[in-house]
């Protein structure tokens, strides 16, 4: 009887362990995926420039097109609908909150901007798009769900053209 009770106890405890491990693995994989997609979203959003401003020598993002592109990447890759709600088959359960921050010639000056969100810190000196995604709660079954957030930044970096270039 003792062996049976011990065996049953070990089975129950081990089952909990396996469920926790699997939940943790899925969470880690989804977190890694979210990081990649947030990077892709910031890269996509940073591609669209206001060409009129650009022709006048100003580096200004086309925020409307940038948002469209960034949100589309997030929606397509993370299986979300138009309202950023997870569709069937998605790991996520809560509606996503996505924030785009554009730093360009309209709001950047000589001094660097330090953007911080949680453990993410970036020093912004060049035109940059920051994407911040709040994906809601994780799907841990045995422990308190963890808030899933990712932030990424994509910068345009270039060397200043030396004045001698124009002499040629």
């Amino acid at each position: 009887m003792l062996v049976f009770i011990l065996g049953l106890a070990v089975t129950i405890v081990s089952s909990f362990g396996l469920v926790m491990q699997q939940d943790h693995h899925i969470h880690q994989t989804q977190y890694q995926n979210l990081k990649f997609y947030s990077e892709e979203a910031s890269a996509a959003a940073a591609q669209y420039l206001d060409l009129e401003e650009f022709s006048e020598g100003n580096f200004v993002f086309n925020q409307e097109e940038g948002r469209k592109a960034g949100e589309s990447i997030i929606r397509e890759n993370l299986n979300l609908n138009e309202d950023l709600e997870p569709e069937e088959g998605s790991y996520f359960e809560d509606t996503f909150e996505v924030e785009f921050l554009f730093y360009d010639d309209t709001n950047l000056d000589e001094e660097a901007i330090i953007y911080s969100s949680g453990k993410f810190h970036v020093v912004i000196t060049e035109p940059t798009v920051v994407v911040r995604i709040n994906a809601g709660d994780s799907r841990h079954r045995l422990i308190e769900p963890i808030k899933i957030m990712q932030v990424s930044a994509h910068s345009w970096e270039g060397e200043q053209i030396p004045s001698s270039f124009w002499d040629n």
Partner: protein, 139 residues
């Protein structure tokens, strides 16, 4: 004698847990490594505007080398046609990808639990799209 019979009966069930733990760890390692490899090649595709033959070849070579699997067992459906970025965002001008890695085993000791070999296999699939960075004037 009774204890011995119970011990023998319960032993296979208890063996399942460390074995399943190992299977889960292996699968997790494989999917995480696969993500890293696939992301690198998706980013190359973003810069080039499509999945070039060299990029696909390198992706398959790396996965063969890292996971010891045959390239025929993989799923690779990607945009090979060149996509461009324009002045405005066009939802159809994106590079799509579907890359799948075979997973040989989900459950350890599956025959003990009467799970067929075929039902214990599957694919881990990365599916989505990225925006092309390529400008038309680059050609």
């Amino acid at each position: 004698m009774k204890s011995l019979i119970v011990t023998i009966a319960i032993l296979p069930i208890l063996m399942f847990f460390p074995l399943q733990n190992t299977v889960q760890n292996i699968n997790h390692y494989r999917t995480t490594s696969f993500n890293n490899i696939a992301y690198k090649h998706i980013q190359i595709a973003r810069v080039e505007g499509h999945f070039s033959d060299e990029n696909i070849e390198e992706l398959l070579d790396t996965i063969e080398e890292v996971f010891f699997i045959d390239r025929d067992d993989m799923i690779v459906n990607v945009t090979t046609e060149v996509m461009y970025r324009g002045e405005e965002f066009v939802e159809t001008e994106v590079i799509e990808y579907e890359i799948g890695l075979p997973i040989d085993k989900f459950i350890a000791m599956h025959r003990f639990f009467n799970v067929e070999d075929e039902d214990n296999k599957g694919y881990y699939v990365l599916r989505g799209s990225v925006q092309s960075e390529r400008l038309e004037m680059e050609d």
